[in-house]
Every structure is written in C-alpha cells, then in structure tokens.
Amino acid sequence: MSSTSQKHKEFVAEPMGEKPVMALAGIGEALGGRLESKGFDKAYVVLGQFLVLKKDEELFRDWLKDTCGANAKQQKDCFSCLKEWCDSFL
C-alpha cells in the first residue's frame, strides 16, 4: 500500500475550488459534520485556517483536534494533504 490514500491523491491533483470539507484526506463524515457545524463548510475555509496558522504542523493539528476531535492519524492525513496541495498550487 502507498503511504498516501486515494483521497489524498485526488485532492492534491487539482485546485480545490468548491470541494466540500469531506474531500480532505483524514476528514470523514463525522469529522466533516463537526467542522461544518463550526462554519468550516468548504475545504478552502479549512485551507484558510491552515494558512492563518502559518502552515505549522503542530498548531494545525492541535486546532483540528480541538475543533472536530480528530485523532492523530486523521490530523496527520489532513495536514499532509493540505501541505502538499499548498506546495503545488499556492
């Protein structure tokens, strides 16, 4: 198995546009629902938060954990997904 999931590969392959937050790697239905309830209804809003946290891994992972209760793996997947997307498109 490759180290990144199919979801990750799909997300980083193109600009995110209006993709929903559940398109992010590591963010499933449960986490996605919690994020949406807090106002993070699109992937680009989470991207905004990621950028405001200066793309710092620890800060972003802590924020994700506090906001939607993501576990370590989910945090890591989401962070690496966004980071790679930024490396390509930002």
Binding site: Q49, V52, L53, K54, D56, E58, L59, D66
Partner: protein
Amino acid sequence: MSTLSSRSDQELTSLLDQYEIKHGPVVESTRKLYEKKLLDAMSKEEKQGKVKKLSSDKTYYREEETETFFLHPAQHTSPIHYEDFSDGDNSDTQTKYSSVMGTKRSPSKREKFGDLSRQIYSTEATYRNVSQSNPSPLPSSTRSAQEKAPEATRYIPLWFQFLVFLVFAGILYYVFANMETLPKKRLEIKN
C-alpha cells in the same frame, strides 16, 4: 489575574511571545487555540515552580532531621556549640528554637541555593509569590510562604480533596470488611 478571554489580541500575541509559543496572527478562528496553549504553558510553569519549591523544602526537612539526631546526644557534651551557631547567622528571638533544632548550618547553605533559584524564578512571569524574593532568615517562614503560594492557586479546594480521599478510604474499608465476613458465611453454609 484577568482571564485570557478578556485580553485583547495584541496582549495575547505578546503573551505568546513571552512563553515562546510558535504562533500565527491572533484572529477569531485561532483565538481559542492560543488561549488554550497559554493556559497549558502557564500551568506547566506553575507546576515546575511547585516541584522545585517542594524539592528545596524537602532538603530543609532532611537537614533538620539529620541534624537533630546528631545534636541531641551531643547536647550534654557541648552546649556552647549552639551559641556559636546562633550568634553567627541570625539575630532574631527565634534563634532559640533553631538552635535547639541545630539547623544553623543548613539555612546558610540552602539560602545560597534558594537565592540562586529565586533569582532564576524572579525573572519569569507573574504568578511567583513575592515573598520568595525577600531574604528570609528562617527555613520555617520560607516554607510557610511557599506553601501558601501553591495553596492560593489551587483549582480544586482542599476540603474537597480530603473528602474524596475519605470517601475512597471508606469504600476500601467497606470492601475489606465484607471480605472478612465471607469465610465465616461459607463455614456456616457447609455446616
């Protein structure tokens, strides 16, 4: 102490820099996260302060215990020794107590360490007890002052902790008491 949520963004930014926490801009969406980080950093600092205070307290106790054992048998042989000690360091009336305990040597040494540690801690932020920075001649007074400082910042009241402990002890006793009666019951059943 004002709550972090009442502070402005600028104040939070400066606090984050003070605690050397890596951070981005303090905006609405990041505020809660930074407040939490600051609270963690503050409580960690307090705990570190407490641990170091307690360890220095422990050395005071140890010194007292060892020295009393030495000095009690020696009391009848060399009473003059006490007077030498008492003249040396302190001029207060309480020297009588401390001379009996024989802790004269220890405070002078410990005070040097205490002063060093105080100097280190006095540069840090706000929750230090001010009385620590004042040179205090007796170990008992510093201990009481230091004990007061952690007490003032307890989150769970002391009486509640004692109550929980007693309830737990009571539960354990109840379980233990029941265990004792069981064998008797078994014997009765067999007969």
